[in-house]
Symmetry: C2
Subunit: 342 residues, 2 copies
């Protein structure tokens, strides 16, 4: 309920509307992925009230996603007895480069091309919408709500199937003039590499520091040792993965320790370069591989310090703490920043 | 002369002061270097009215600089019949890392340590002062007034004795949490390098892309060719410098062309990495070496494109156009941004 104050002085009357701050307003944060969409219902103060996920149906040119999301949102509103007019809007993350207006040129994971995602969400679900790149939004979510600490200048690196990232500058996502800021997986760390990366280049950071990259480093280490590798932690596995490598290192396996050190050297040295371009308060490392924990941070920090420009050698390193929720937090923050007047 | 408007309505009287916009106010931009201080007198609208320089006297723990600058400023004010109250303030650039408050920890070029340069300028010269790093201010000056075009997101690289740089983000200098943003000369481009850089690291970009670095690349190329180098452009020179290399390349000398290409490869590949961290509208290349002109930009762009992440492969490259004046322009902009209300 809103109320009014009337101020009467001399013969002038001033009418001031004050919004009742007791009123609850809500935000949906939706992280649209190739296999699942993660949804979060947030209070306007940024509190996550509930989260859940639905499978991504890529049929119908990726258009079913929107009707499925509309059904999910409507059913949550009904379940919670929330009026539609109390929803501020929807923030959505997509696994693609996206313009400030919400236009995606190409999004192979969803089958979209050259199309305005924000307009489509508003059309089908019926709320104001803002969209962004999923890795950037995860960076923003971590900077905002991660690790029990709010940061305004962050380099965020995600180690998953590939290596992604996001730069937070003055509390805002740095988009870049061509939408490429924070595409850290494509820094060239080995000009001599002959294998091609997904981007068409070669020697990209993600060819070594992603889950796939770490598995490759391990395979190479096993091959290089030949018979000496017999009986070691990784030997004889049909397919080595990044988790095996970190598990083995925690058990003291020498080959695994070497691979973790090699990974730390490549990522630490790349970060030493990244941090003289954009010098953040903190480097946050997330993504599936970061589940390895402190052993990973320690390996990266050790080599970062060795290669860092001295004035920023004392950099803070942290593991991401929101896990898969980072994206929906970033989506909610984007709605707060862009659709509400603070 | 300021004037007043009186508004009388009902029984309420409003008194509005309007500043006379005809009034001229002035700014001094001072680029303090180890051998000379460059001074600029600017109109508050950013027009450079006059520029000159005085030698840097490093005696007396670097304190003579301030009395010399005070004398230079006072004599210019007298010459131009400018009242002291019409000076908004002084912007000064120093060849060191400097805090937002104007504190320099260490500035070997001037012999200063742990001292507030802005306070000292105000104390000795008598005007409000703001200070910044000289390379960052040159970046800001170029972004603001260079190349007949104003840019808001710029990567600026200076190729001089070393390699410096500055990042302009949303029209402002990116300082970084440890004052290290834009220290592009310290990106590690060759982990196998055994020679040590001035920063204590090895394999830094400036070991190859500075004037000194280019001369080293040329010496190596001459040595590698042995007798085959006889009669070529660089052969027999007592000391090869970067200018010789570019001059020889312009004349078609094969060794010089190879060295320019090698330089372009190292800097172009480094810039491909820089531009996926901070993705600018334009890369501007300045510093003494940039006097080589288009041949330099062409060599860098050729290799940038080869190594760039495809969405930002179509990057704009420009030569700096303000030369030695970039710094004083950046100083004036800093005063406009920080000491005037726009």
């Amino acid at each position: 309920m809103d109320f009014c104050i009337l101020i009467q002085k001399e013969r002038m009357t001033v009418n001031i509307m004050i919004e009742n701050t007791e009123k609850n307003r809500y935000i949906f944060g939706i992280d649209i992925g190739g296999t699942a969409c993660k949804l979060g219902l947030f209070h306007e103060d940024g509190t996550l009230l509930e989260k859940w996920q639905i499978p991504t149906d890529r049929a119908n040119g990726g258009m079913n996603v929107f009707t499925d999301l509309a059904a999910a949102v409507d059913s949550k509103l009904e379940e919670k007895s929330i009026n539609r007019e109390d929803v501020i809007g929807i923030g959505a993350g997509v696994p693609a480069s996206i313009s400030g207006e919400g236009v995606v040129q190409k999004c192979p994971a969803l089958g979209w091309s050259n199309f305005n995602v924000a307009d489509k969400i508003t059309e089908v679900i019926g709320f104001p919408a803002v969209c962004g790149n999923d890795a950037n939004l995860a960076a923003s979510g971590e900077a905002w709500k991660g690790a029990n600490h709010s940061y305004s200048d962050v380099v965020f690196v995600t180690l998953g199937t590939g290596v992604g990232g996001g730069i937070i500058c003055n509390g805002k996502i740095l988009q870049g003039a061509h939408g490429c800021s924070g595409e850290l997986g494509h820094i060239k760390v080995n000009p001599a590499e002959t294998r091609e990366d997904g981007c068409g280049g070669h020697g990209c950071l993600q060819q070594y520091a992603s889950a796939t990259g770490i598995a490759n480093l391990a395979e190479e280490a096993l091959t290089a040792r030949g018979d000496e590798a017999k009986g070691t932690y990784l030997y004889g596995r049909i397919k080595v993965n990044a988790k095996n490598v970190f598990d083995g290192a925690k058990k003291g396996d020498e080959i695994c320790l070497d691979v973790v050190d090699k990974f730390g050297e490549i990522l630490g040295r790349a970060l030493a370069g990244i941090c003289v371009v954009f010098d953040p308060e903190v480097v946050i490392i997330g993504g599936g591989v970061s589940a390895a924990g402190d052993i990973l941070i320690d390996a990266v920090r050790k080599h970062y310090v060795e290669w860092a420009f001295p004035p920023c050698a004392d950099m803070e390193f942290r593991l991401a703490s929101l896990g898969n929720d980072a994206g929906i937090y970033g989506c909610a923050k984007m709605v707060i920043d862009e659709l509400t007047e603070l």
